[in-house]
Symmetry: C2
Subunit: 177 residues, 2 copies
């Protein structure tokens, strides 16, 4: 089952900085980089305005790159309370943008992404950035960290999608998916 | 400074049950009920689909009732982790709906609402429901609790809005607001 050509958008949700990436699955484990960037919203602005700016930005990315599927990092209740809540609000808005276009959303925990990319669920940022740079054949490490995380999410989905597709096929032997 | 006629939508965010209400400010502390209800999304559905359903529902309410302002309960990192995250995702989508229409959003903590309605920041559900029923002149207590909470949020904003408006006027003596 080949997924060559599949366009995956990776999203590392955040309100102050949100990492966005688009990659395209190649043959086998090959993944080609398409775009990467970070959307920022001003910390001093009201929540409503920040969510609106984020929503507008991710919708522009979806218009520009037409992803087939979106991979989003699952938010955990860890670290600074206010940051976690902001990230969860942002995540809701980002998942909604995909849902409104009928784009399937897959969520991965940070350790699932680390394991898929580096083989180690506890890999540090440096290891992850180095792996992503090599996998995608980039000339320089992606910066900032949120951009690298967004690429890692997208690559993680490319590599897990064939397995997910086989599982779905096994569960629905007569189905079309 | 009279706010008579101001239409306030109260939102008690949630993914399984989201309380929605609309009230209209009258003279002095009078508040008139306009609508109250609860939007539910199926617990078995995927997050993306649930957020889409919630967004569609709140947008329909905003189309139908054209609120001037929205009062939303601020989500706290308390209780069941997964529920809190779901509520925070939902909250992001609800605040976005208001922002996309240019409707101002005010956030209140549960204790601010309780204090405004009952004079006691730790009032229990029974006290709150009884106060809301009396304030709005309802023939029966609103049910379920999420509906009563949504009404309480809207009434809270009606009563606090004049103070907010005076503060704004004091801070911007030459302004138009």
């Amino acid at each position: 089952m080949s997924l060559a050509g599949l366009r995956v958008m990776g999203i590392d949700p955040g309100l102050t900085r949100c990492g966005l990436s688009v990659v395209q699955a190649g043959r086998g484990r090959e993944v080609l980089p398409v775009a990467v960037g970070v959307v920022r919203t001003p910390a001093g602005a009201e929540l409503a305005e920040r969510l609106l700016r984020l929503s507008t930005a991710v919708n522009e990315w979806m218009d520009d790159y037409r992803p087939d599927v979106v991979a989003v990092e699952r938010v955990f209740e860890r670290g600074n309370v206010s940051t976690v809540m902001h990230t969860a609000h942002a995540s809701g808005v980002l998942v909604l943008a995909a849902a409104q276009r009928g784009i399937p959303v897959h969520m991965y925990t940070p350790s699932e992404v680390k394991k898929a990319i580096s083989g180690n669920g506890r890999a540090d940022k440096k290891q992850m950035t180095s792996m992503i740079t090599r996998i995608l054949g980039l000339s320089a490490p992606p910066k900032p960290a949120d951009a690298a995380d967004a690429l890692a999410l997208a690559v993680c989905h490319c590599w897990r999608a064939p397995l997910l597709a086989r599982t779905t096929a096994l569960l629905n032997p007569g189905g079309t998916s």
